[in-house]
Subunit: 337 residues, 2 copies
Amino acid sequence: MVREPEKAVFDNVTLQCGQTLPRVELAYQTYGQPNAARDNLIVYPTWYSGQHHDNEWLIGSGMALDPERWFIVVPNMLGNGMSSSPSNTEEPFNQASFPPVTVHDNVRLQHRLVTERLGFDRVALVTGWSMGAMQSFEWGAAYPDMVERIGPFCGTARTWPHNFVFLEAVRAAIRTDAAWRNGWYTDKPHRALRAVGRVYAGWGLSQAFYRDELWREMGYASLEDFLVGYWEGFFLRRDPNNLLAMAWTWQHGDISANDRYHGDFSAALNAITARAVVMPGRTDLYFTPEDSEYETALLPNAEFRPIPSVWGHFAGSGANPTDTEFIDSALKRLLSS
Amino acid sequence: MVREPEKAVFDNVTLQCGQTLPRVELAYQTYGQPNAARDNLIVYPTWYSGQHHDNEWLIGSGMALDPERWFIVVPNMLGNGMSSSPSNTEEPFNQASFPPVTVHDNVRLQHRLVTERLGFDRVALVTGWSMGAMQSFEWGAAYPDMVERIGPFCGTARTWPHNFVFLEAVRAAIRTDAAWRNGWYTDKPHRALRAVGRVYAGWGLSQAFYRDELWREMGYASLEDFLVGYWEGFFLRRDPNNLLAMAWTWQHGDISANDRYHGDFSAALNAITARAVVMPGRTDLYFTPEDSEYETALLPNAEFRPIPSVWGHFAGSGANPTDTEFIDSALKRLLSS
């Protein structure tokens, strides 16, 4: 039985862009219970188009994120179709008129959730994959006195230029389909979504993944089977405007793009006093280990621990047990420190 | 003044796919003169959507490919809009009904050109970038007794699976535009071509290229300037069916996919007795150095010499003088051996 997520509602939220959403719903799921000292909170944000249930592979008894010990909150990112998104927001902020939302906006709302609604004033760990990693860095930079540890995997503290360019291909795939109608579609622009799947396929996994036909381990019988069954299917379940909204969030990710750091990226990294383990995928093609290594060197209290995997960005997806064990072990050590 | 290319016409050419084109035009340009011994021929095929004039940056007085010493023939690949292509072939083989053409088909025609029409029975060197490199390997495997040297750069002897997947994104970008009309367009599907540009942008150059903003060296003022001015402009000058035709050629590239090697890729590599210098780009994202290294190890008479460049695949494009000098020097050594 699927549990429905909780929803925290915030009225009149002014975003960094200057637009005010009259009502923002932040959907979240919790695992475990707060302890008496209220010092067992883990925040574990979602990734590009993922929803809270997609994060559950890293939560479980005996794992680092053990709900018997920790109170784990998985907030759904705005734009993911579960929290406020182009697809579920009332007029006039629906569809193509949904305002641009930053990673900073997301984390500010998550901060309000855990402080105002859940009654926590510190966070033992923020961790996440991909855009979830970006939100982990953002937590560390925006609330350095509150965040004890961060464990970002396969994600960076800003969106580096090549990563931005990759996302231009995703955006172009959607915008090329006339059925997208500049965002004012009623029927799903299915060609756009299939094209996003084909664009994403080459980026999500590494050259070696395809060379070694590791899609077989995911249960696919041929490359075309994987491209249609996995990639096209994956994006056909998404809403194009939501994908564009989250792509905007991603493309503009930068922990220093706010009135605390005024674009001084080094200063923002240097302000993250949380103990950190930074885990890029060794063969990740868009959140590259080189970019992660550069950032980690500027963190005052961090360890650089790349995931030795040929699963590319998907080293952090939960699809490959070896990589999951690597991440889980690193988080265990981090949480015991 | 632009020189018009020569054209060799072949009647009733049966392709590997079993279809017969009643008339094939092979457009080619020559540089320099045949010598009396007829031992100074260099064949330098074109790349994906490139035409003979796009190859001229590697030809010149004092360079390896010096027209004062060598007779250099640049054959245009079928599908490139200058040799027979969807865009210029008569009914019934025009547009979407242009038959699939292999690298092997291309090289067989080039072989007929240099033997039947130009009167050569040996080739001092076959070299080329990208799909031009694929044709270099094909020459070596198809005519081992005739080819003395090959100098492929940024290209492999077969299309490895991840490279195939990248091309799926290019194909999807075109097919997503309803104006493409399954290939039966009369008006140019410009959205498709712009989308191909945005898809290609992330693959053509490396992460480091974008991190270091090396598009500035190409004369662009901003990233968006580069994406529109270079990438969209580049593909807006192409014909979508031609791009699809050449993508098919590329995706099915394999020097062993013919009745000489029957799919035995190792045997085909092992049969290339030509002296070879194989030059992948160190940061090439689709013709990877790893794939090149694997192949080079199976060549009996080859040197592996990756181009130490952050220009990705474009290390072999002629855009970066340092890389051009690297390639030119390697070809000079190869030609003097």
